[in-house]
Every structure is written in C-alpha cells, then in structure tokens.
Amino acid sequence: MEAVEYFEVECPEAAGREYYRKIADVVLLDHNLLRVIRKLHIFIDPKVPIFIATGVTRKLPGIVRVRDFADVNVKDTNVTISIGDEAYLAPLLRILWDKFGKERVNQPDRFTIVLSVGEGEGDIADLPVYDPSESIYKDLIYVLQVIQPEGFKVRRQYYGGNRFYLVASEDTLPEDIEDLVRQKFALMGVEV
C-alpha cells in the first residue's frame, strides 16, 4: 500500500478494521489496481450496517494507439503492421474491419496484418485502439464490491472526474448518504 498516498479504514471495531485493511490491500493488489489509486478511504459500521468507500484515482494511462504496440510500414498503397503486443490485436482487427472491410485486411500470420489503403488513408500509426480509463472505473467498482462485506445488496456507486465512491448496505440507504460521502471525501482533503 506504499504506492497509495492516503489509505485509511475507519471502523468502530479494532479487529475488523485491521482485517479490512488487509483485505483491501490484497484485493487491490490482486486486481493490479494499486497503481491506479491515489487516495482511498473506507468506512464500515457493522452496527448500522453501512460500507462506504471513497477514493481518488491517479492520472490514468493515456489512450493506446497503433504505434504503441506495433511497427507500421507504408509502401505505396500497402501498409504492413507488425504486432509487438498481442493484447491489443483483437480490438485493432475489429477497428480495421469496420474501417476498411474484411476483404482489404489480410492477416498472413499471427503477428502481421497487411492492409491495402487508398489515398490519404495511410495514417494508421495514430489510430486509437484502446482507452484504459473505460475499463478501469468498472474494475474499480468491481473490486470495491469484492472488498465490501457480503450481503450488502443495496448499493450506490459513482465514478468520473478522477473520483469514485461506492456505498453499500443491506438496508435502505439513509437519506443523508451524500453528506456522509462528502464528509469522507473531506477527510482525504478532497472537495466534492
């Protein structure tokens, strides 16, 4: 948890607090999200019961473009793409099929794509392929659901603008829940 600037678990029970500190640490590490989070505050009161997790993300990694994971060679109307990182191959193929049609996209082997392009279509290297921020927030919320005590089926979640929160309980959420969330953000020095 050293990578995270601020990390607190607030809970009236001492033993539970230590457990949840460890649980949050392990789950975030397992899902490779420690690097993404800058601040995280978790509040649990088993008496109510309520679970609130509020946090701030770091600057997320930018959009992945073709040149980030492949070499692009343009020769007349033929473009040869040599794939370096296969992880992005599937989304790239889908984009190329949509853009050029399947008949113009050739894949002679696993790591090579040959395209026949028209005039002014050769700028493949800058094509955006994958936006990590789209899935990161979904992953974050999923991870918070794993961390929260089980059985808290009533949930409210929010993400965007570098912030996220998840509130969960097994009863109806209290009406002043947004004030509570604001308080928790204030503890981390974040205005909402």
Binding site: E13, A15, Y19, P46, P49, E150
Partner: protein, 312 residues
Amino acid sequence: MTHVPVTYKGGIYRHDEIIDLIEDLGGYIIQKHVIAQEVVLQALVPREDIELIRKIGKPLTGDVTPSPLVGTEIAVVTPSLEIHHLPHASCDVAEYIRRFGAKTNMVGLARGFGKRIAQLNDEERDVINEHDLAVYLLGDFEACIERKFPVLRRGIEVPIVLCGGPPTDALKKIVDPPVDGYVGGVGRFMHRTKESEEIGKLEEVVAEVTRVLDQRREDLARDPLSISPARFMDIIAENVEEIHEVLSPTPITVQMQGLRVKLPYDTFAPVIRKIVVDEGITIGDLATVSPSRMRDYILVRIKPFSETNIVL
C-alpha cells in the same frame, strides 16, 4: 482392543502388504489414496501394533503418524460460496482439517450472508446435522456475528466450533448459549494462508476440533455403540457388490456414530438392512437405515448398547 486413528504414508511398491497387515491385525482401512508414486492410508489400527506396522513399513519408506480425526465427518459451514468467502478462508480450513484424517464437506449456505438477512433453510440444517461436527466460519465483525449466529445455529444438534475474526474472548462473550469450541482470529481474509502465523491459526482450529471430538468420544463411551462404524464399513463392503463401482473417493464414509453409504436409498436400503452381521443379527437390528439429505445417499446410524443390548 482399542483402535487408534493413524495415517500411513509410503511408496506404492508392496503397499498391499501393509494393507494386508493392518487387516490381519484387526484394523480397518478407512480411506486409501494413491498419488503418483505414493500411497496414503487412513486407518484405525490396534494401539499395541503401531510399532509393528512402523517396523514393517520402514523398508518400504513408510511412515505412520497419528491422525486424531480419522473416522470423522466434519461440515465446514460458510455463509456463502461467493468470492467473499472463497477460495481462501473456507478452503484452507477445510483442507487443513482434511490433512488430519477427517472427511470434510463444505456447506455453503444459500442465504447465509449479511447480518439481518442471514437465513438457514431446513435442508442445510439437516445436512449439517448429518455430520459429527460443524465448523462455522464467520466474518470479521462482532456486531455481525452476535446478530446472525443465533439464526445460523438454529436446530443444529451436532457440536459447533465457531471461528471468526474477533479474538476468542470476544467470541465467547457474544455467543449465548455457548457452543463447544471457539477460535478467534480466523475471519474473512482474501489471501492464501502461507505465513507461519496463519498456519498456526489453522493448527488452532484443528486442535479445537480435536478437543471437542475427544470430548464427544468420551460421552459416547459411556453408552458404547453396538458395533464400531469401521467394522460396519467392512461388512457392507463385503456384502454389497455395487459399492465397489461407486467412483466417489469414499464410497462409504465413516462417522463417529455411523456411516454414509453412497448408494441410492430406495434400491439398497432394504439390502443393507438385511445383511447378517453375526448369528441372527442383521444391520437393521443394530442401526437405523434412513435416507440422507445429501443426494440420494443412505445414512446408517448405529444404535447404542442401551437400546439394543448387544455389543459386537
């Protein structure tokens, strides 16, 4: 002749000699695992013959260790089989108890999660009651355990060992009426138990389970069973041919007071009831043969001496 539960571990070469030896000495093989080149036998053997087995097993790289839980079936009860409780907390405990010879079954409750909303249904209750002991693995908060545990234990008649995150003293304080055993510091966690401190906790669970079961054995000894469950197992295996075609690891599971026979009830219950144990005495005289709530299995409960006036 008192039987002691042991585990024999050794090479596969000539292991059948050890099996013959144990059987000739009047012992019972409860379970046999063959893992690659190794054989693990869980057996009940006469106390005075352990040294002999050790001596004969030595040239076959065999080793005999005491396994206090051989011949017991234990339910590991967890509020759910969701990612919140699996795989680490529940599996590690179930697996660790298994190493000491017990047959453990994991019971994941359908609606055991949450505090106010936790429930236990009749099927779960009956299945847990078919075991010798139930280990309850609950969460990390005292307030939660205090509220939900009375619901989860309703109707459970077997001894309970309660594990949870709060310290043992705190658990004792919040549970009323008391259960048979408590282990604190084993709550919900999300990682493998690898560090020595965590393994120590698992050891504590096993120690507590062993203590509670020893007590139970003492209680049972006051009114002994009409026949030992292990001997019953041998008799059924000899008389019911079809049991050898069952693929489950323990086609006949030995419990402290009976057996679970993994054959369909309707077809085989009458057959089992009629098996002759000794001159004119059938299994039906010595035990109740009833349907198990687990699949279509048969549950055999041996009657005590006070009911049958027979000890074999």
